[in-house]
């Protein structure tokens, strides 16, 4: 069973629906017992970093998520959920993250060298930087759906996929049993479903 952490942000309906569609049992939950019993954890998220992190903190689940991941339980952060896996974020100030991924979350706009729109919204192609079990059912160039204004940076050791948007955008990261995707696999059609299926098998 996959526990989708519910801490009051974002649309968890489509994430849960995609797992159901794949026949993967899942629970949208903030219950400690359910998360303990789960064999995998997904940390979703949309909105602003500080606000979302404060809400996650308010659930009192952070230490549990850290312990479970440290014990080897696969964890997948999606979108802002991925960003929260990092050491810190520079979204409206400096904020500490969960610290699973070495690196920081920075505004795309400051690094762009051509006049591209921010947020980066839409379908972009994936370039695999490293082999990862997360992409075992995908192929180079698969399109995934992004919506974000900040991106993971200085995290070269953990990057497993990137997308080009004027600059190289961190598309996905991995560090042991902890994974993160900046894009939304649950909104990325067939390519995204394949990634979720692969996560259920890591």
């Amino acid at each position: 069973m996959i526990a989708i952490i519910d801490y009051g942000v974002g649309n968890l309906f489509s994430l849960s629906s995609s797992l159901n569609y794949l026949g993967l049992s899942n629970a949208v939950t903030s219950e400690k017992n359910v998360i303990l019993a789960a064999d995998r954890i997904i940390l979703p998220g949309v909105g602003a970093f500080a606000d979302a992190y404060a809400k996650l903190e308010a659930t009192g689940l952070i230490s549990l998520i850290k312990e479970e991941a440290a014990a080897g339980k696969p964890l997948l952060g999606i979108c802002l959920g991925m960003q929260m896996l990092f050491d810190k974020s520079f979204e409206y100030g400096v904020h500490a993250g969960l610290g699973f991924i070495r690196g920081e979350v920075c505004p795309i706009a400051e690094d762009l060298t051509e006049p591209l729109k921010v947020p980066h919204i839409g379908w972009n192609s994936l370039h695999f930087v490293k082999d990862s079990p997360l992409f075992k059912y995908n192929k180079e160039g698969d399109y995934v759906y992004y919506v974000h204004s900040y991106y993971g940076k200085n995290c070269a050791e953990s990057v497993i996929a990137t997308s080009l948007y004027g600059i190289e955008i961190t598309g996905a990261v991995a560090c042991g049993n902890v994974f993160g995707t900046q894009f939304h696999p649950e909104k990325s059609g067939e390519a995204g479903l394949r990634i979720l299926k692969a996560f259920s098998e890591v």
Partner: protein, 252 residues
């Protein structure tokens, strides 16, 4: 590389898809869930569901239809129509929408954009604007094109972005249903004034219209259409193959 998006729009009334020409003469087309599945298969990048129901029962049916679609289709879903409050945002998001498009509701109460953006993030708020030339000026119309608000469309677009809209749907009433191409004049004016993604709507009649749109207006990110897709005059996969072979990045 980021791709240009092709978005079919499904107008839904009493649980069925309908499409008007110049906003009148609506005729029934097909079942929304089946159509959503068809579009998903044929390569649509996103789906827009527009609720044009007037009754309470119709609204409940719309919610059911949306929930059913969201269970089966895993590309972004935008919902519009009858969105007048943050509670309406909440209602459709709970049924599985990813983005919510506001039109008349935002004209009546512009702070709805601000409030919704604050609560759900800018990426969730799409400002949809119906624009018509009146005495040579681009003017915002409300209530599905029936009411001239007198609001300057170019100013409204900029205000929408300032208030937190994450994308703009620009629907030209002058070209809607005419099938002679998108309103490139209007779109160019709007493109000069905003930096959020622009979705062009109204007037697509051929594959060439989409090519012209993306080639001449690099600031337009997506093309939206209804009847030409519903009546299978254009197949989305064919359209995308055509665009790609002419140098436009698309998801295939």
């Amino acid at each position: 590389m980021i791709t240009k998006r092709i978005i079919p729009c499904l107008d839904v009334r009493n649980g069925r898809v309908v499409k008007g020409v110049n906003f009148s003469g609506v005729q029934d087309v097909e079942d929304p869930v089946a159509m959503a599945a068809f579009y998903n298969e044929s390569g649509a990048d996103e789906l827009v569901f527009y609720d044009i129901t007037a009754s309470f029962e119709g609204r409940a049916l719309f919610n059911d239809v949306l929930t059913e679609v969201a269970k089966q289709i895993f590309i972004p879903l935008t919902v519009g129509g009858a969105i007048n409050s943050v509670a309406d945002f909440d209602r459709v998001l709970k049924c599985g929408a990813d983005k919510v498009s506001v039109n008349t509701g935002a004209v009546r109460n512009p702070s709805l954009i601000t409030e919704a953006a604050k609560r759900y993030g800018n990426q969730c708020v799409v400002l949809s604007m119906d624009v018509k030339r009146v005495d040579g000026k681009y003017t915002i119309f409300a209530k599905g094109g029936r009411e001239n608000t007198g609001i300057d469309a170019l100013e409204w677009a900029r205000q929408g972005e300032d208030r937190g809209a994450g994308e703009l749907v620009v629907n030209s009433i002058d070209t809607d249903g005419v099938k002679r191409g998108f309103d490139t004049e209007l779109l160019e004016e709007i493109g000069r004034r905003v930096s959020v993604p622009i979705i062009a709507s109204g007037g697509a009649g051929s594959k060439e219209d989409f090519l012209k749109l993306f080639k001449t207006l690099p600031k337009v990110d997506a093309g939206l259409a209804a009847s030409i897709f519903h009546f299978k005059e254009i197949n989305i996969r064919d359209l995308k193959n055509y665009l790609r072979s002419n140098g436009v990045e698309v998801r295939l």
